[in-house]
Symmetry: C2
Subunit: 375 residues, 2 copies
């Protein structure tokens, strides 16, 4: 296997001893963040980039974790030598968010002060601001005083936006992709259905399923199926599946199964075996609560007026969960606040998932912006 030879991938866990007071008042007495890095930090630490992950992802953003891995990280199309986020130039960091389920402190972590048992549903609510603050502690531990760029899609884009607001002196570029400055009622509604699917699964046991050696697989499966459909577009699904049948004959009505049905069930099923239900609930709550303008009398221009970085804002035409209109609201506010912003709109039928996919025009424009970043 030679798949890893060009990418200097390292996985580490950073422990923080200090007390972390969360936005909503709860405290964590020490915590871990697991992160991957790609490339090398230069002597002046001026080439560091932070990648923020979205709802169902983790710190494994690029490359292959082991020589046996067959599936690369979730943003491997963008991160690597000579790629859009060029690891020959940049030192790239991606951490599993606090409350996650892939190594950072979260609901599956042993609860302090008890002999056995994990946090489960008692893990405190975490917000985008909490993630940004914990990522700032990680930056300090790595000797990075200012990120060349903070980059993310969807919920990750919200973190990039919050970085620009929270630490204006510690970020030179914010790349906000397929994101929004706040969710719409429809988005909150979809998140609520996903949460209810999990909460109403009898195996959820009010969040203490781990102690009972159970997994609320039914709920997670439904939540993922719903996400999967809404992250694609009607036109994109038509291209991919049409009304093709997997089995049966529709004229006889026996064992009829459309391709899209078995595909969805497969996706839901894999996810339910690899993701934690309490984390899913936490992440959707963080999405719902994000609204930086709410601290500025609901004025997004005011919220962004203290930022100093340059912005790159991208949206995709067929994305209806984080529609181009939401990106336009961010761009409009930045323009009004007289900030530097480059915005692009990518024509594609691939819906919200487009930000994860190798779309030529997207990679070209994103790459063009990244090449302007000086280190």
């Amino acid at each position: 296997m030679t798949q890893n030879t060009n990418l200097l991938l390292q996985t580490r866990t950073q422990h923080f001893d200090s007390l972390l007071r969360l936005q909503f008042g709860a405290e964590l007495d020490g915590f871990d963040l697991v992160y991957e890095s790609y490339g090398s930090l230069n002597a002046s630490a001026s080439n560091a980039i932070l990648i923020c992950h979205a709802l169902s992802a983790n710190h494994h953003a690029a490359g292959y974790e082991t020589a046996e891995s067959t599936k690369p990280g979730w943003w491997d199309i963008c991160i690597g030598p000579g790629k859009v986020i060029d690891t020959d130039k940049f030192f790239v960091v991606c951490a599993n968010n606090l409350g996650g389920c892939h190594g950072s402190t979260g609901p599956k972590t042993k609860k302090p002060g008890v002999t056995k048992g994990c946090y489960g549903a008692e893990f405190p609510v975490v917000t985008v601001k909490d993630w940004v603050r914990s990522q700032n502690l990680l930056a300090q531990s790595l000797g990075i005083s200012c990120w060349a760029a903070v980059i993310g899609g969807s919920l990750g884009g919200m973190q990039a936006l919050q970085w620009a607001i929270e630490y204006p002196e510690k970020i030179r570029h914010a790349c906000v992709i397929a994101s929004a400055s706040k969710l719409s009622a429809q988005n909150i509604a979809f998140n609520e259905i996903a949460r209810q699917a999990i909460l109403s699964d009898p195996d959820y046991l009010e969040g203490s399923y781990t102690e009972a050696d159970l997994v609320p697989e039914r709920g997670l499966r439904l939540a993922r199926m719903l996400g999967h459909v809404t992250y694609q577009s009607d036109a994109g699904m038509r291209e991919k599946f049409g009304r093709e049948l997997k089995s049966g004959d529709i004229r006889q009505g026996q064992n009829v199964e459309f391709q899209v049905e078995s595909y969805l069930r497969y996706q839901g099923s894999s996810f339910s075996k690899s993701f934690d239900a309490n984390t899913y609930i936490l992440m959707t709550r963080a999405l719902d609560y994000f609204d930086p303008a709410s601290e500025f009398d609901n004025d997004l221009v005011a919220a962004l007026s203290g930022t100093h970085c340059n912005f790159f804002v991208t949206a995709f035409t067929s994305d209806w969960r984080f529609s181009p209109q939401r990106s336009k609201e961010i761009v409009d506010a930045l323009v009004t606040a007289k900030k530097n912003v480059v915005s692009t709109l990518i024509e594609t039928p691939l819906g919200h998932d487009a930000f994860l996919l190798p779309i030529k025009r997207y990679l070209e424009t994103f790459g063009a912006y990244m090449r302007t970043i000086e280190i």
Copy 2:
């Protein structure tokens, strides 16, 4: 109570002794259809209109069932004296579809040949064509040889379309509202998530929940919540709910609940107490399978070429489950087949649910068309 005084409402159950062979081969040895009628059939039976209901509705389309009822039928805005479907002029019939759960033979009906127990999940698959054929038997029993019009929205519009194809001599006008000639992959996907929510509810018991005195309420609740969100538009939900909170303070993160969340839970909960899970599965399958062009080499023009009636096709701009593009496909095929068609597109943020709502321009144009129908 004077609410019923102007509307001559009658509820009856018609029993059919004959054997009904269903499209997919199963047979029903006799069956019941429950129906409501409004207004009076004229001597020549030339003023009869059939209303076809959609996924979660039933035969109670207009008026109040009893003097104590506080909620009128589901299309009361359209049906009544002086209304769009004027019961002073027309005799209006609406039957609960076969497989339904409000009085017509369906999964909750006692299974023949056994001393106790209902059909449950063993009730055979029913299609739009089966509904149209059973409605034709109802027409015969009522002495109606030709409907002045067959009218329906959504799944009801599919029945109107099928009537035009199946019985070209027995229908003079077909009104196809917010409908489609077949579902898209995205629509099938949403239906599949709803089905999986029900099927994976432990109380579903493979469809035999009634014998165990259980109801798969969790699954039905999720199915309805999902329907409810997708039958509205992002813009419509923004107008209705915005990001308003029902409780809590988002800056403190305690007991935060958005209005849209409690609204959805309430809607889901009421529905789960009044609708049958096996019927819900049957109805969504009928939606998925509907594709009249499939019997004509996937040529919708050919499928419609044998029709003789006039068509009225209406869509709503913000309806993304049955988008204007789907209606346009029907209109285009009708035009190519040289049929008479009037089509309208109604500007509204109210999504798919718009067809049930009192939108001025919709009622005006629909009413204008209905006034052209001679009796």
